[in-house]
């Protein structure tokens, strides 16, 4: 009896945590080789060749990675700066609630909001018109659905930066960084050294894994680029779903090729991050 419960627990873990992922992956793999799928006729490499040759997937991968990288760098950088500058103020009752508010806004709303602000007929365009800076909607610069993904980046930053501010504030508290800093100062460190040698390294080290995880989340993000992205190149999830749902039934398998590639890349990152290899591999 005593051993029963762990068993059931483990079975449930496999059923909920592992089996669906495995099934999804196998299904996508079979589809990508034309083994399943109503219009597919049997095993073939042609979809894989088509995807690898067209290069669109890799273009989209690099594009997504660049966006995710820029957004993460700006968010983490901004969050560090805000945390270090305004730590004491943000502990106060009113401000501490305000700091949590951005967590209540989902990607869909962020995307919609940014679009409302920045589009050529949006809020800022109206202001510019009222001030006489532009004469027509077309005079307003491209800030959404644009080549440089300004809109997407801005949306990501407004989503991720507040999260990291809260995270760093908590690290500050949990790691007693204030006490450490005072100690360092009394030992003769100047304020700059305190920030550079003590606060930054500890904050970043503690947040390292979350930074990588957020990078991966942004890489696979869907709603925001769906609203604010352009038609080509598209971010990964948008590309994959577009290919899976495309008009040409004979090419749906190519979408699954992209899905398989994406899954492999993401899984490899997890293995790299979390699989304990050497003793100090996991910090």
């Amino acid at each position: 009896m005593k051993n029963r419960i762990p068993h059931i627990g483990l079975v449930l873990f496999v059923l909920i945590g592992i089996l669906p992922f495995a099934l999804a992956f196998i299904y996508a793999l079979l589809y990508s080789f034309g083994v399943v799928g109503v219009v597919n006729t049997g095993f073939t490499f042609k979809f894989w060749l088509a995807v690898l040759q067209s290069g669109e997937f890799f273009k989209s991968l690099i594009y997504s990675a660049l966006i995710a990288f820029v957004s993460m760098a700006a968010s983490v950088g901004g969050a560090l700066w805000i945390t270090i500058q305004f730590r004491q103020n943000l502990e106060k009752k009113f401000l501490s609630f305000i700091a949590y508010l951005p967590l209540a806004i989902p990607g869909v709303v962020t995307g919609f909001f940014i679009f409302q602000l920045l589009s050529k007929s949006g809020f800022f365009a109206r202001i510019s018109y009222a001030f006489g800076w532009i004469r027509e909607a077309t005079d307003f610069p491209d800030l959404v659905n644009d080549t440089f993904a300004l809109g997407i980046n801005l949306a990501f930053i407004t989503m991720v930066l507040p999260f990291f501010v809260l995270l760093f504030l908590n690290v500050f508290k949990n790691e007693r960084l204030d006490e450490l800093s005072i100690l360092a100062q009394s030992l003769g460190a100047n304020p700059r050294q305190v920030v550079q040698r003590i606060q930054l390294p500890i904050l970043l080290k503690k947040a390292r894994i979350l930074i990588v995880l957020y990078f991966i989340f942004l890489l696979g993000s869907y709603e925001v680029p769906l609203i604010l992205g352009q038609e080509s190149p598209q971010m990964l999830s948008v590309l994959i779903i577009r290919e899976i749902k495309q008009y040409d039934l004979d090419k749906i398998s190519e979408g699954y090729v992209a899905a398989v590639l994406y899954t492999i890349i993401v899984s490899a990152t997890v293995l790299f991050l979390f699989l304990p290899k050497r003793k100090n591999a996991l910090i």
């Binding site: 669906p20 401000l95 501490s96 700091a99 949590y100 989902p106 909001f113 997890v270």
Partner: protein
């Protein structure tokens, strides 16, 4: 010395945070806002009144969203708590932990696209149950990983101690483990509620547009280019979490790092 700019910047940040909330409320009260006009031709409660009563009502979506998110949050928190205990006391816990991360970081929409075949097979396509199950599948890894920090050696010692002192398995949970985990359970409930409440891609695929949660509605209105109704549904989407946050915020980040 140079500190005088700080209050200004801080006030600016506060305005920045409050801006989207205000903007959404204002936009939801407008109609006929032509470019380049700075003021809309109508401002009032018309949108709220029509949309709450119309056949394609948002109210219904609101209720469906609440039901789905509550179910997902409750089931995930409870199952995550108990199953994580087994996983993290397992000799191979490190490997199991890594496995749990796979579905956690995969884009839900891609996950759903690859899983939809099995959902069709099981009759879980296009209905609320299917959406709950699918969202549970992506929220569960979160709960599992979230609780991993709870099951440390100390907890094990507490549990063992209770057993040694003659406590039953049930007592170990009700008298020791659950009270100690109370705040974490709360946070996990809140976070999984939000995961479900905010979810769009996976819901759109498994629900095939038949399960119209609020996020689905927002997209519907964006597609229609009906921004006023879109803003209205955004309001319904963001204000419940604000209320939850107000009561919950001090717990949210506990044990996260």
């Amino acid at each position: 010395m140079k500190r005088y700019w700080k209050p200004f910047f801080l006030s600016f940040l506060v305005l920045l945070v409050l801006f989207p909330f205000t903007y959404m409320v204002l936009l939801s009260l407008m109609s006929g806002w032509q470019f380049p006009d700075f003021l809309p031709s109508y401002f009032g409660f018309k949108n709220w009144a029509t949309i709450m009563t119309s056949e394609g009502g948002l109210l219904q979506s609101f209720v469906i969203s609440v039901i789905i998110s509550l179910s997902v949050a409750i089931v995930t928190t409870i199952s995550g708590f108990f199953i994580s205990r087994v996983v993290y006391y397992h000799p191979k816990s490190k490997v199991l932990n890594v496995l749990a991360y796979f579905p956690y970081i995969l884009a839900p929409v891609v996950f759903a696209a690859c899983l939809s075949f099995f959902f069709i097979k099981l009759g879980l396509f296009g209905n609320v149950t299917g959406v709950v199950v699918a969202q549970f599948l992506i929220a569960f890894p979160y709960a599992l990983i979230f609780f991993s920090s709870f099951w440390n050696q100390k907890m094990k010692s507490y549990a063992d101690l209770t057993a040694t002192l003659g406590g039953s398995r049930l007592q170990t949970y009700t008298k020791v483990l659950l009270p100690m985990a109370k705040s974490m359970l709360l946070v996990c409930f809140f976070q999984t509620f939000l995961i479900s409440w905010f979810e769009y891609g996976l819901t759109s695929i498994i629900g095939i547009g038949k399960v119209q949660t609020l996020t689905i509605k927002v997209f519907l209105f964006i597609k229609e280019a009906n921004y006023y109704y879109g803003a209205l549904s955004c309001c319904l989407l963001i204000f419940p979490p604000v209320v939850l946050l107000y009561f919950n915020k001090r717990y949210v980040f506990k044990k996260m790092v």
